[in-house]
Symmetry: C2
Subunit: 533 residues, 2 copies
């Protein structure tokens, strides 16, 4: 006889790489996104919300480090729509919208978008397959003023959500300059050019020597594996490295001006001691008064570098334009800075590129201090809409890494927006549920978050445990006796917790942060308790 197979219970789990967000996590993110939206709207950007699903055809293949088709995205086939996929960013859907509605949208079209995106990548600690992005883009303007505006807005946004000036830097560069250098070095192969880009992008991690090896024959990475190099000749490598070293060269030129600073006794800095891009940029960032001279010097170095190469010159001129506009608006080097070491990994950028970095230190998992790092990046991508229409449509934009920025705000203790725990009205007498409901009704009418305990009221201890788990500030208690006398007991759980920390169980029982108040003054007395906590 065949056994009847019992249907196993489903596992209560998210798929690998997905997670749930509870309470304060949701509130804090929403509060931050609302603040970002406020700034974006102030700059004239309009919201756009596209759906999570796009055709694979429309999405295209613009994920970084992905070569095979459909790799990196969640895709499946539909009978009536063919291959569709979850969006992997908010830029590809914008390009689709800009093409689809090109006759209806204002031009230039400034839009912002916030929402989840999905990446079918190997999940890891803190690395999820669904996460939020928050983008602002201007489609239809070739003007460097559009790039400058995005950079200024990014700085304003970071300050608006709670990152103080001095704790961040927006670094700006232009892809065309590197393209010009590549042309001069006669690096024409697209594959090889992309390799150069990826190598330079690792400067922060592997240093100048590492990049030099990667540009040439290759190098052993930290795991001991050999990484093939791009295969440039010695002369080609030197040309590329002179671009990479632009900051240092600018510093040498500036050195004779002896830009020493004495800001109190704690900080005596000299640019001449700076040994790498990060140090240089950070030092300049603390000297906003040198913005103009720094920009002029570094732009001069870049100008020398590209010589008469047309694309390179165009890039330098655009960068000069951006620098001038930002200076005129008072965005100096303590907020936005020209930095030739920014290249950005993504292949689709065609002009200005920018990155916002948080410059304060946090402690990593191993207790070592490290810089917080990048929280936003973007640039100009003039070819994404062209994919659809055949006509070039200039576009520029920025994407904020929502989870990283939120983590930064948490590290700085600057999140807000989490709703306080509710006042919990306990149930002493199951038959008088109507009375308890009336209490929460009054509290809510006064704008106070409140709820009746709805579990089994038999065990009163469970009700207080519940209030504790809810982070409730006040518990309201009314038995039959109290009801007859027209009073309620208010238990100050915040004060109670404080007392409890320093007191034994016996002492705590003797000092219950509890008062008896008239039923009529419930709202007033609860508010008093909330105000003192």
């Amino acid at each position: 006889m065949a056994k009847v197979k019992k249907q196993p219970r489903p596992k209560a789990e998210t798929p690998k790489g997905f997670r749930d967000y509870f309470g304060a996590e949701v509130d804090e993110r929403n509060a931050m996104l609302a603040e970002i939206a406020r700034v974006y709207a102030l700059y004239g950007f309009d919201p756009l919300e596209t759906s999570g699903v796009e055709t694979v055809e429309a999405l295209g293949k613009f994920l970084p480090d992905v070569d095979r088709p459909n790799e990196g995205v969640f895709a499946w086939q539909e009978e009536d729509s063919g291959w569709v996929a979850l969006r992997y960013d908010l830029t590809a859907p914008l390009a689709r919208v800009a093409a689809q509605y090109r006759n209806d949208l204002p031009s230039p079209y400034r839009r912002y978008a916030m929402g989840p995106v999905w990446r079918n990548e190997k999940p890891g600690p803190g690395r999820f397959r669904q996460f939020y992005q928050c983008d602002a883009d201007t489609v239809g303007s070739a003007s460097p003023a559009a790039d400058a505006e995005i950079c200024a807005m990014l700085a304003d946004t970071l300050e608006a959500v709670g990152i103080e000036r001095g704790d961040y830097l927006v670094r700006v560069n232009n892809r065309k300059i590197l393209n010009g250098v590549l042309k001069i070095a006669e690096i024409d192969d697209a594959e090889q050019a992309a390799g150069v880009l990826r190598s330079i992008d690792k400067l922060d991690k592997i240093g100048e020597g590492g990049v030099r090896s990667l540009l040439g024959k290759g190098r052993l990475d930290s795991s001991g594996a050999y990484v093939d190099g791009v295969g440039l000749s010695g002369a080609q490598t030197e040309l590329v490295m002179s671009f990479v070293g632009a900051n240092l060269r600018a510093v040498k030129q500036l050195d004779r001006m002896s830009l020493d600073v004495d800001e109190g006794s704690a900080r005596k800095l000299s640019l001449a001691t700076a040994e790498n891009d990060r140090e240089i940029i950070e030092l300049i960032g603390r000297l906003p008064e040198t913005s103009k001279i720094w920009n002029n010097t570094v732009l001069g170095v870049l100008h020398d570098l590209v010589g008469s190469n047309p694309e390179g010159l165009e890039g330098v001129n655009e960068l000069v334009n951006i620098a001038n506009l930002l200076e005129a608006q008072g965005y100096l080097a303590d907020r936005i800075i020209i930095d030739p070491s920014v290249v950005r990994g993504l292949g689709y950028y065609t002009g200005a590129v920018f990155e916002a970095e948080l410059t304060f230190e946090i402690t990593d998992e191993k207790g070592r201090p490290r810089q917080f790092g990048s929280v936003a990046g973007g640039g100009r991508y003039d070819d994404l809409v062209k994919r659809f229409t055949g006509q070039a449509v200039p576009a520029t934009g920025v994407s904020i890494g929502v989870d990283r920025l939120l983590a930064a705000l948490r590290a700085k203790g600057r999140t807000s927006g989490a709703a306080a725990g509710p006042v919990v009205v306990t149930v002493m007498d199951r038959d008088r549920m109507g009375d308890y409901q009336a209490m929460v009704g009054e509290l809510r009418s006064a704008g106070i978050r409140a709820e009746v305990y709805l579990g089994n009221p038999k065990n009163f201890g469970n009700q207080l445990k519940y209030a504790d788990k809810r982070a409730s500030p006040v518990a309201v208690i009314q038995g039959g006796d109290e009801a007859e006398r027209g009073v309620v007991q208010l238990k100050d759980l915040v004060l109670g917790a404080k007392l409890a920390e320093g007191l034994t169980r016996e002492e705590w029982a003797e000092q219950p942060a509890q008062v008896e108040v008239a039923r009529d003054s419930l709202v007033a007395e609860v508010r008093k308790m909330l105000d003192r906590s």
Copy 2:
């Protein structure tokens, strides 16, 4: 020679059944959801955000009208997670969360959730494959007070977002009563019971006679097709129909009390003239003072109907409990009403069921007036968490149809939250971009939405067309001459549009709603213009 196949351009289209939301559509929905979240939080509910992707196993098969596995959902296979799918509602993920975190969550757990859900259904006009839901649920409370709370909160929520009292009704029933009737009628087959449920749910559309036919042998539907009936005997059908007719029977009992109303000359109503459930419920809804007597009467009818059947009696008692709690809190029949004609199609409800209906009329596509209808519904589902854990976990909740509620608010002219168009600073002189940026900078610092025109400034007419498309209230103009004299021109585009409506092009040119003001008073003068529009 083989032809080189040219890669065709991708189509700029969403997949079938998906759409984009622009500007005000996004703002209005966000404003409404924020208001709903405020009320939910006030009631002690905490936000929860699960991801869009769940395992097919965890989601289960609870879509209405879907028999085949995976039908109705977007599902695909992943190497490391097996079959996964986009969530089709917010209840199934909640059940998964309640099981997964059962040791960490407070119990009862009150949570709300807002976000998109996906249904792989045939799209139609106004019917999309991605849409928003907004749910509030209490997991872990078997108390009718939890159901009553959800109903009260639903009423509060509708009023908070702008649906006035009198324009909505929350109708409440209990599944156990119908289950009791089915038991008495000896309808034991689950398939047949589900058929009865579906037939009753059509009462509104096909009337009492139609339901009677469907319960028996079947009927011809409006398209002329024959729809098979449930196959009940005559006696069984009569028993079920007596449940369906509970409202009418209650009306007959009330008739002797001659509940006539005279509310001005325009409205003289008598319950005795009511011919169907909708009319009855609407009339009672206008007579909140009769709440108690109506509830008593209709609950009495239901009590008679279930006789001594234990499940039926339990249902009546729960409903009595809910009615009493709501009455005690002042939620009378003009907001929440006991209505035995509510059954709700979904199979998973196990107790109380409720539905919020908007009672005002709108004009349909063909110009005919019709009631707006349902915008929210829910009920008690005690078995969804049990799927995972094997242990029964009582739960109750409501889901608001976000798009329908938003459509209702639009129909009533009660949406808000759309950002006004930005002040547009035009570009007369490309070299003075810095000056124009300074102007928008000042306006933004004063909290005024503003932007510089970033398109090609050559054609000034295009700049004004752009301002028009942006619904800009004010355009700022400064040529070299004005700059020298330290002034700017302000064009009042709102006033301009008004003038333009009644004026010829010549007259309009003579009355340009345009003033010249000092550059220094730009912000003050713009604000003046904004205030008068």
